[in-house]
């Protein structure tokens, strides 16, 4: 079958360069940083979609996460950015890699046609929608490029977490949720095939019944 690895990565590089250039040209150094992070983000996810092997996709996803973290920092949300890097790159990605390792490699499941079709269709849709939106927005009324300078800092975030009139409830809930989720994850993950007898009770398992049902419906 046709293998478009080279053209793809070539195109990707071009896209990268283009982003950097556009960044510099539009806003100098911060622009460069922005272009870099944005390119990293999108490129990472593109590779993730494109790559045939799950492992590579997972690693390419790291690019996305880092890029997003960069964007956060550019937006002055350095704490969020750090959290992003720690949790995502450090935690979630590790988890995903576990998943990758525990599931069999299947090199044949990627269909270029599907990928291409999906990209084109989705891209077209999003491009169209965002174009329309952009057309409707009066950019004049939006805050210009100069940002209001930051007054809040990480300290406020910490206070916000524990201040009873702020986010303490949500914070506690999140904590509980995490605990429950992890316990649940362990619980589910530990089960063996023997525990899945009820699955045989589920009607779809007896094919005859299924066929009968389909026939009746028809």
């Amino acid at each position: 079958m046709v293998d478009l690895q080279k053209p793809f990565y070539g195109g990707l590089t071009l896209f990268f360069v283009a982003m950097l250039g556009w960044g510099i040209s539009s806003a100098g150094a911060p622009g460069l940083a922005f272009g870099f992070s944005a390119a990293l983000t999108l490129g990472g996810s593109l590779v993730c979609i494109w790559e045939r092997s799950v492992v590579r996709s997972a690693f390419s996803l790291m690019g996305t996460f880092v890029g997003v973290a960069g964007l956060f920092i550019l937006l002055g949300a350095d704490f969020v950015g750090m959290a992003q890097i720690l949790i995502y790159v450090g935690g979630i990605l590790a988890l995903l890699l576990f998943g990758v390792m525990l599931s069999p490699p299947d090199m044949e499941e990627r269909k270029l046609s599907r990928v291409a079709g999906g990209l084109v269709l989705m891209g077209a849709a999003v491009a169209w929608v965002s174009a329309k939106v952009a057309a409707t927005v009066e950019w004049a009324q939006l805050p210009k490029d100069e940002l209001p300078e930051m007054t809040t800092s990480v300290h406020d975030i910490g206070v916000g977490f524990i201040a009873p009139d702020k986010y303490v409830v949500a914070f506690e809930l999140a904590a509980v949720l995490l605990t429950v989720a992890l316990v649940a994850a362990v619980y589910i993950a530990r089960r063996k095939m023997a525990d899945f007898e009820p699955a045989k009770d589920i009607p779809s398992k007896d094919i005859a019944g299924k066929e009968a049902a389909m026939k009746e419906i028809a």
């Binding site: 960044g23 622009g31 983000t41 999108l42 996810s45 593109l46 979609i49 799950v54 997972a58 996803l61 996305t64 997003v68 964007l71 956060f72 937006l75 002055g76 949300a77 704490f79 969020v80 959290a83 949790i87 995502y88 935690g91 979630i92 988890l95 995903l96 998943g99 525990l102 599931s103 990627r110 079709g117 999906g118 999003v126 929608v129 965002s130 952009a134 939006l142 805050p143 490029d145 940002l147 209001p148 809040t152 406020d156 999140a174 949720l177 429950v180 989720a181 992890l182 649940a184 994850a185 589910i188 993950a189 089960r191 063996k192 095939m193 899945f196 699955a199 589920i202 009607p203 779809s204």
Partner: protein, 100 residues
């Protein structure tokens, strides 16, 4: 860089996430896609929070989203493993018990 740029990036990331979920036939890509989408949302949160005045809410939301993502990833991964146990496949297309 203006607000528009950030929104554009997040929109594109969102789109890619959806594509990742839809076009690939491996259940892990569903997870990947979900992460991308969450990240896209986060970008929006933080960007808007930054560009009109500075409250905390946007960032707070972003943090909570990240927490949720962590939980979700853990559970999802466990489910993936079980699905693999049960059906000997990671192709969501063949996991159609929901149908019955």
């Amino acid at each position: 860089m203006g607000l528009g740029a950030y929104i554009a990036v997040s929109a594109a990331l969102f789109a890619l996430g959806v594509v990742a979920i839809v076009v690939r036939r491996n259940i892990l890509y569903v997870l990947f896609g979900i992460e991308m989408i969450l990240n896209a949302a986060n970008i929006n949160f933080v960007a808007f929070n930054r560009f009109n005045g500075d409250g905390l809410d946007g960032r707070m939301f972003a943090i909570f989203v990240i927490i949720l993502a962590a939980a979700e990833a853990a559970v999802a991964l466990a489910i993936v493993l079980n699905v693999y146990h049960l059906f000997n496949t990671t192709k969501p297309a063949e996991v159609d018990l929901l149908r019955e």
